[in-house]
């Protein structure tokens, strides 16, 4: 009898995943592993398949082939969005998605992971003192505790982004998927967002998709570069930025196009 090889503690595992949209190969043979507690930054040019990757993980689209597993052997390809979310995977969208007609307090309340999610449950669910404390705790983390009764629609763009991150935290997810959190933010707001994400490192596993390299430098330990739906390279920020293939993908395409035109 031989001992089975020890499986490392992956929080997320994508193996040989493929996805084609009407002939366009959005994801091709994508393999991606992530450790528990890791903060991973995913970069890549437009159309590299970054958002599609998040869609596949969160159940918004189903892969044509391949394995997507969460934690120890939970197959995500068979589940729908709410079910995947309740396993402990939270997702922040690229454009801030908050409930503009609700107060900030209510936005967090509706996002709390421990309260009821069924139709009947929500008819009789109330804000208990513990929940209230938890909500204010989160509001403090995202620096919106002074605005609990303000409607979310009245917030600035940056504050909406933070509120949405707060809504994710309220779900107390094991894995956070954050799509371009710094888009449209001022330098100062971007920096604060970086600090916020860093403070969550270790408590949650986090995937951040980003374009802004200052921001990537601030938060990144390990960077994965996606290109044409597959992993081009992985490593530290410096390694990645000095990689010839990455340079070519980001900077060289124009040159190549020029050459091919001549």
């Amino acid at each position: 009898m031989t001992a089975a090889p020890i499986k490392p503690e992956f929080i997320l595992m994508l193996e040989e995943v493929n996805k084609t949209f009407e002939g366009f190969k959005a994801i091709s043979n994508l393999t991606f592993y992530m450790d528990v507690g890791e903060l991973r930054v995913v970069i890549g040019p437009n159309g590299a398949g970054k958002s599609t990757m998040l869609d596949l993980i969160t159940g918004r689209t189903k892969p044509d082939s391949g394995k997507i597993e969460f934690g120890k052997d939970t197959d995500l390809t068979k589940l729908n969005e709410p079910a995947i979310n309740r396993l402990g995977i939270g997702r922040k969208f690229q454009t801030p998605s908050v409930y503009v007609d609700h107060t900030i307090f209510e936005n967090i309340w509706l996002s709390l992971g421990d309260s009821s999610h069924s139709v009947w449950g929500t008819l009789f669910s109330r804000v208990t003192p513990q929940r209230r404390d938890r909500i204010y705790e989160i509001l403090k983390i995202i620096a919106l505790d002074g605005k609990a009764e303000t409607k979310a629609g009245a917030l600035s763009h940056g504050q909406k982004q933070w509120l949405e991150i707060g809504m994710l935290l309220a779900q107390n997810p094991k894995l956070l998927l954050v799509d371009e959190p710094a888009a449209g933010m001022t330098d100062e707001e971007t920096h604060k967002t970086g600090d916020l994400l860093l403070s969550l490192e270790g408590k949650h596993s986090i995937v951040v998709i980003e374009h802004d390299m200052t921001f990537v430098r601030q938060i990144a330990r390990k960077v994965t570069v996606l290109h044409q739906g597959t992993v081009l390279c992985e490593g530290s920020v410096d390694q990645v930025q000095n990689d010839e293939r990455v340079k070519e993908v980001y900077l060289g395409r124009k040159k190549k196009e020029k050459l091919s035109h001549e």
Binding site: V100, E106, L110, T122, L123, R126, S156, T186
Partner: protein, 384 residues
């Protein structure tokens, strides 16, 4: 916010007392010539409006609160009406034209015995139960299929309208045994009371007022629950709700079924007061009209649809007599005007006016919150 809802509650309670207590009393206890007198005609007319208000609330629960523009609410209203109509037809007994124990139109179609689907409708309780079950089940099946397939926006509107139109065509057929294009009419009795007597009509009016009040209170309560907040969250950002662990399809299904039952209840009370039900109640224009009531009154509020139903129908009663050819033009014009200039309807008018006043007539405060524009940052050059 709190103050506003208190004012609303007081106003609604005052109106409820006027409709449920004062108007019926004035109808009974004042002389017909007196300026205080409320005529039987007025009672009957306002009773009709109260039923329309229930239809309007059902539209608003879906459109204003959940972001689902259903053009099928008239179908559920009419189904409720038909269930009540079947009971009322049975209560005619052998007082019809043919003096047979079965409804006239069945005699006309060559029936001599009562078809089996008609038999249980001699019971009032059965008719009421069916008025809840039939629209509820139909909404449940249709909603389950539509929401499971993630049909939303304009596609949902088109499908609900198609469903209503299909039902309309079905009810026009004599073979359905629902009276074909004539529908049901010439009702005589309800629960042993003569429908031609003003006391019966007054009783129905009070029942309708109470039913509307209960529906109002139910919807008002619903908006304060976590359920009600999720309803509006679905309207504003369905993806966020979906990715917060809620099966939005179940929530939408619940609202759709509830709205169908409320509309049906309106139809149940409408038919004995109006004295007729036929397939024209299901025509697409009927559902569209209800949408206009909600838009005029103010969607996303519970009191708005009630106000809208009253005002638009009062206008209709006047305009169809004064300018019968221009009514539809007028209705369409109102809808366009409200959509463009009063997006929050009559209920939102005070807030809109005060915002307008602040903007144009009050000195601007100097410290408006400003955001500094984002400065250019070091980014990886994106291939253009």
């Amino acid at each position: 916010m709190l103050r506003e809802s208190k004012i609303e509650l007081i106003a609604v309670m005052a109106l409820a007392v006027i409709f449920i207590v004062v108007m019926p009393c004035l109808n009974v206890y004042t002389a017909a010539g007196s300026w205080m007198h409320v005529s039987d005609f007025t009672i009957n007319l306002y009773g009709k409006y109260l039923c329309y208000a229930m239809l309007a609330i059902s539209v608003d629960l879906l459109w204003g609160y959940t972001g689902l523009l259903s053009l099928g609410q008239a179908l559920f209203f009419a189904l409720g009406g038909y269930m009540m109509g079947m009971y009322l037809m049975r209560m005619i007994g052998n007082l019809g034209q043919y003096q047979e124990p079965i409804p006239d139109f069945l005699v006309f179609l060559g029936w001599s015995n009562l078809p089996y689907i008609w038999k249980p409708f001699s019971s009032f309780a059965f008719a009421i139960i069916m008025a809840v079950l039939l629209p509820g089940t139909l909404a449940g099946i249709f909603g389950f299929l539509a929401f499971r397939s993630r049909i939303r926006g304009v596609y949902f509107s088109i499908l609900t309208q198609a469903l209503t139109y299909a039902a309309c065509l079905l009810f026009f057929r004599n073979s359905l045994l629902m009276g074909g294009n004539n529908g049901f009419t010439d009702f005589k009795f309800i629960l042993g009371h003569n429908l031609a007597e003003s006391s019966t009509q007054r009783g129905l009016f009070v029942c309708t007022g109470v039913a509307l009040l209960l529906v109002y209170l139910l919807c008002k309560w619903l908006t304060t629950t976590k359920f009600g907040k999720i309803q509006r969250a679905i309207r504003d950002s369905e993806n966020r709700v979906l990715f917060s662990g809620y099966s939005t399809a179940n929530f939408k299904l619940f609202v759709f079924v509830l709205a169908a039952v409320i509309a049906s209840l309106g139809g149940v009370l409408y038919v004995p007061q109006v004295g007729i039900i036929n397939p024209s109640e299901m025509e697409p224009a009927r559902s569209l009209e209800a949408v206009v009531w909600v838009a005029v009154g103010g969607r996303g509020t519970v009191v708005g649809p009630i106000i809208g139903a009253f005002i638009v129908n009062a206008l209709k009663s006047w305009a169809t007599r004064a300018y019968p050819d221009l009514w539809l033009l007028f209705l369409g014009g109102t809808f366009i005007f409200v959509t463009l200039f009063m997006p929050r309807g009559i209920v939102g008018l005070p807030a809109q006016l005060s915002a307008f006043r602040k903007k144009h007539f009050l000195p601007k405060s100097g410290h408006a919150e400003t955001l500094s524009p984002p400065s250019p940052k070091e980014t990886l050059a994106k291939p253009e």
